[in-house]
């Protein structure tokens, strides 16, 4: 049994939930630079168009968001500026995370799925985003890092939300 396997066997769903709840809190408190540190250097963050297959690739399909780590860090940098007009002043958000499951273990990594409902309020208008997240998590130092976050919206497009200016 490798060390990795031993680590795996000791990870419970509640450990993953604690991590995802903490991620949601960072987003809701707009602590985006700290949130970015949850990601590995080769991480990806995807929000595909809603008429695509769940495993579609952004190399040959149109997504809403297909960030590598560089673009994700630029997204965070942008959102923290006053000139990110869509989020100035910052909207209030509440990320609710539920139905967390460990789907698979790939080497040391975990494939995790969760359901989400995220509320966004700004200027007297409240929008709801809902769907599922698929994560690839890398365990280490008693916590995890995110190698992949694929956010699958259940809505038909972005009507009436109109934009994904927050991080889902």
């Amino acid at each position: 049994m490798s060390d990795g396997g031993t680590v795996m066997q000791t990870i419970a769903r509640t450990d993953v939930e604690d991590f995802l709840f903490a991620e949601a809190e960072l987003l809701d408190e707009w602590r985006l630079p700290e949130w970015l540190e949850l990601f590995t250097d080769d991480a990806i963050y995807y929000v595909p168009a809603t008429d695509l297959a769940v495993d579609a690739s952004p190399d040959n399909n149109l997504f809403y968001i297909a960030d590598d780590r560089f673009r994700l860090s630029e997204r965070v940098k942008r959102l923290m500026k006053r000139t990110a007009h869509a989020e100035f002043p910052h909207s209030k958000t509440r990320h609710l995370v539920s139905n967390v499951r460990i789907r698979k273990r790939i080497g040391d990594d975990l494939e995790v799925s969760s359901a989400f409902i995220t509320y966004r309020t700004k200027d007297g208008v409240t929008d709801v985003y809902f769907g599922s997240n698929r994560y690839r998590l890398v365990p280490g130092n008693g916590t995890f890092r995110i190698k992949e976050k694929r956010c699958l919206l259940d809505s038909e497009g972005l009507r009436a939300q109109g934009r994904v200016s927050i991080i889902l």
């Binding site: 929000v47 595909p48 168009a49 809603t50 008429d51 695509l52 579609a56 952004p58 190399d59 040959n60 399909n61 149109l62 997504f63 809403y64 968001i65 297909a66 560089f70 673009r71 630029e74 997204r75 940098k77 942008r78 500026k81 000139t83 990110a84 007009h85 869509a86 989020e87 200027d123 208008v125 038909e156 497009g157 972005l158 009507r159 009436a160 939300q161 109109g162 934009r163 994904v164 200016s165």
Partner: protein
Amino acid sequence: MNAIGPMKTALLIDESKKIFKVSRQAFVDPVILDAERAQIFDKCWLYLGHSSELAKPGDFVTRQVGGRGILFARDGKGNLNAMLNTCPHRGTQVCREKHGSAKSFQCFYHGWVFGLDGTLRSQPGEASYAEDFKERSTSSMQQVPRLESYRDFNFICFDKNVESLSDYLGPVREYLDVICDQAETAMTIVGGTQEYSMRANWKLLTENSIDGYHALTTHATYLNYLKATTGGLAQVAFEGSARDLGKGHAVLEYQAPWGRPVAQWIPSWGEDGKRELSRLYDGLVNRFGKERADRIATFNRNLFIFPNLVINDIMAVTVRTYYPAAPDFMNISAWALAPKEETEWARKYRLFNFLEFLGPGGFATPDDVEALEQCQRGFRNSSEAQWNDISKGMGKTNPSYDDEAQMRAFWSNWNEHIFRASA
């Protein structure tokens, strides 16, 4: 008879004083929206879809166009059919899927079956109907009055007496040629539709889509992002012109410092990208000569086709159309268009370019959405603060890409459509 209450025009124009104002009532009044439906959306050519979306016989999509539900299908002979998606029997929407492939369409209510061209094939209890019932045209799904296409862009019109699409487009055709000629074979719609909405009047998106003036302020963070990428931008300044193409159509044609997958290189694309773009550029020169190759490769085009189609050939090519659901709400659909034969490299970077800037998850479009929604909020003051100003660049022989001549072209034609009935 006056169609719009006491209003006779929405424009305040004085060429000698360089005044061009638009009444903000045009963005908020439900009576104006009714007039737009009757005078514009029921009478103008409207974009339905691209032929590449129906690649094979049996392929279909359903779409909302001009307030109607349209079933767009390729039949067994390869012909395209645009049908009103309603059963001739009792009105049920026949096809309820957004896209797919079918051998026939069956209305689930009473089981009538239609061919891919809408012809009634069978209905349960045929013996109880008149002998010639199936042969009657009223027993089949109704085709839209007009369906015509130009370079695989398919348009429909609900006015059967409308001029031909070719005449309607006029000088727009030349710009569509320039955009489509970047492909050696044909242009194709890439998988994935961006469907979103804005709490804003639809005409605000017309203005925004051909507005060169807002880039440096609204999109400061996008330009900062481009500068942060490895090696930054191309050494090209924003420079170009705007052209009124008649009938409300307009175009901006200009150079800009961002990378174009056909074909303007930026340092972050590296040596592989440089080789690829040189190959593409050489191909263009071989096919069209240097002058046209340069125009295709290095110039951007924001092309507006009246009343609600935008084809922007910028850091990627987007096809975008939008409809009002209410004076202060619109639904938008956007697709990425690309040369069918392009390499995996070019397709990947084209799509990355697209979603960095364009679309509701990008670094630019969300700020456009915000700007347009804030305009709509500002219009709450329109009883007192009544006018929008779009006079920038009036009187110039050659208006710049960041003047507002192209918006004046749109509004003049819009005004003509809305108020000519009451003139």
